[in-house]
């Protein structure tokens, strides 16, 4: 398979001002070095869909920005589509797209269609092709009625969908997405995930995604790179990541009446508690026994069995780190 991203031992060190008293901070400002990304290496093949996961400040977005050529690495080498991103070559930039959930690339005062016309020029697209793509994407994302509305009049979700259309108008080979579903409603999130998955499967578009929404990761990505404190602590498929936790199950027990906690604790570790509902973590090979015992001892109304959710797995990994 063709490697589209090759990262070798990259680090990124930022200088941030040290907190001092007012006079010193003006006349003798001091900086300290913060290592955002610490000597990481990985490769991505064409058509892969990869998620960067990690807690806030782990180095995910910094890595993404180095891959798109926005930031110069402090050390190490990056190649994306055979080019060094910070060289910002026309051929390279024409093949990538960057979507940032919290940043506006479209003009606030104009309609999305008017901004797309500018992108049409920038990407040197034929008007008919661009128009066809805009119609296609706006139908999928259900915003065709809003193409001529000024961006400032759109809701957050509609705006983000327009940003996504603007980023994908030129059929990029790699899409970099930083929190693409931030602040969206469930339907909008679902549409965007389906759309990205489809682009990945049908057109072999490589997807690099960072998100704190684990459903984004589960629905869109096949591979996960977990970053914590600037270092990669896991790099493999989602299946491998969850398999480590497959020996554990979550039982959600709904009771007909309120039950005190001490009566539940003996069946497993309480993960969540609501007035009539408890979520317990139990060993996978013990779930049948627990279900039988609970059903016999307590006034149970409903039982739901699930795998350990991805966000719990992540929380567990970060705590261990």
């Amino acid at each position: 398979m063709e490697k589209v991203i090759e990262v070798k031992n990259i680090s990124k060190i930022y200088k941030v001002p040290v907190k001092q008293n007012f006079v010193k901070s003006i006349f003798i400002p001091k900086n300290k070095e913060i290592t955002a990304v610490n000597d990481i290496s990985f490769t991505v093949e064409k058509g892969e869909s990869v998620a960067f996961l990690g807690p806030n400040g782990a180095g995910k977005t910094t890595t993404l920005k180095m891959l798109t050529g926005l930031l110069y690495p402090s050390s190490g080498n990056v190649k994306v589509l055979g080019e060094i991103p910070v060289d910002r070559k026309y051929v390279f930039l024409k093949k990538i797209a960057l979507v940032m959930g919290n940043k506006n690339g479209l003009s606030w005062d104009l309609s999305a269609r008017q901004s797309f016309e500018l992108f049409e020029s920038i990407y040197d697209l034929k008007h008919e092709d661009a128009e066809k793509k805009i119609i296609e994407l706006s139908k999928i994302l259900d915003v065709e009625k809003h193409l001529d509305t000024p961006i400032r009049k759109l809701s957050l979700g509609q705006r983000l969908k327009m940003e996504l259309i603007g980023a994908l108008i030129h059929n990029p080979e790699i899409i970099f997405l930083d929190e693409p579903t931030l602040g969206l409603d469930v339907i909008a999130k679902r549409n965007i995930r389906e759309f990205l998955r489809n682009a990945n499967k049908e057109f072999k578009t490589t997807i690099i995604l960072t998100s704190h929404d684990m459903t984004d990761i589960e629905k869109v990505c096949d591979r996960v790179i977990v970053i914590n404190n600037g270092k990669i602590i896991f790099d493999d498929s989602i299946g491998k990541l969850t398999s480590k936790y497959r020996d554990r199950k979550y039982l959600t027990l709904v009771f007909k009446e309120e039950i005190p906690s001490h009566k539940i604790e003996k069946y497993g570790r309480i993960i969540d508690k609501k007035p009539l509902t408890y979520t317990l973590e139990v060993a996978g090979n013990n779930q049948a026994k627990v279900i039988a015992a609970v059903s016999e001892d307590l006034p149970i109304d409903d039982i739901d069995i699930t795998h350990v959710p991805l966000d719990e797995i992540m929380a567990d990994m970060f705590q261990k780190e």
Binding site: Y14, T61, K65, T68, G69, L70, L71, Y72, V86, R88, Y90, V91, F92, L93, K94, I96, A97, L98, M100, G101, N102, K103, N104, G105, S107, D109, L110, Q114, S115, E117, L118, F119, S121, I122, Y123, D124, P150, F176, D178, E179
Partner: protein
């Protein structure tokens, strides 16, 4: 192959220039009342300044060797230069500063455009040129009508003055752009930008002949604020006819363009991008 690259480069730059101008024009139409407000404020400023000039020349015959008609002409060139800066340079520089501050520059740097060209011409304010610059200059032109024959204008002087206006505009653009690059390191460059604008405007205060020698040296080297208006008017009105000075101005332009490119690359390599 190289020629093809150059052709492609020119084509891309022209497309950006044309579409950015059109795009910015559409943006300026989004707030119609704002355009009228801008026009009215400029009109008031211009009329007040003309009254001031009238009062001043009621007491003195000349300022720095310029009589009333020549000062009106000087004011016209000041006005033209102000709008050229505002339309072709300042708004784009403002946008650059804001985009560094908010991190929106990220999205523009990831587009396949020559970044320096794009940020330089990102917002050409043709709307302001039409709605504000041209109407606000009309009173000045009316005041000047009937006085043209009192001005010592020659074809050579006009050509030299025109070259000086263009090169001077490029120089002051580069100067302001370089100052605004501090935003890459400090995160915000509004005050630095304002300072640069004040320095540039200082060169529009009095005619070229009114500045002491020391300020003239500074105004043609480190702080190049005497080319676009002061020297241009001096050439047009035949006050300074040393055309060889044009060669120096050309050299100064090339130096500032080189500095702009180098410092832009340096700033980009230190870009830390606002956090998401």
């Amino acid at each position: 192959m190289k020629l093809l690259d150059i052709k492609q480069g020119i084509k891309i730059r022209w497309k950006i220039l044309a579409s950015s101008s059109m795009f910015s024009f559409k943006e300026s139409l989004a707030y119609t009342m704002n355009n009228y407000g801008n026009f009215l404020s400029m009109m008031v400023y211009m009329l007040m300044y003309l009254v001031f000039l009238d009062v001043l020349f009621g007491r003195v015959k000349t300022i720095a060797g310029y009589n009333y008609s020549e000062m009106l002409f000087f004011t016209l060139i000041v006005q033209i230069n102000y709008y050229l800066t505002f339309v072709f340079s300042l708004t784009s520089i403002d946008q650059l500063d804001v985009s560094i501050n908010t991190g929106e520059l990220d999205l523009w740097l990831s587009k396949p455009v020559p970044a320096l060209w794009y940020v330089t011409f990102r917002k050409i304010n043709l709307g302001d040129l039409i709605f504000s610059a041209i109407p606000a200059t009309i009173p000045l032109i009316v005041m000047l009508s009937g006085k043209w024959n009192l001005l010592n204008i020659s074809l050579g002087g006009v050509l030299a003055g025109f070259v000086c206006i263009i090169l001077g505009q490029i120089i002051i653009h580069c100067f302001q752009f370089i100052i605004s690059l501090t935003a890459f390191f400090t995160g915000e460059g509004k005050n630095a930008r304002n300072m640069a604008m004040e320095i540039i405007s200082f060169g529009d205060s009095v005619p070229f002949e009114g500045y002491p020698s020391a300020l003239k040296v500074v105004g043609f080297t480190l702080i190049p604020n005497l080319v676009h208006t002061a020297l241009s008017v001096s050439f047009i009105l035949g006050k300074s006819v040393n055309y060889s000075f044009l060669l120096y101005v050309l050299l100064l332009t090339l130096v500032f363009l080189w500095l702009k490119t180098k410092l832009w690359k340096f700033a980009l390599s230190h870009y830390s991008s606002a956090s998401s």
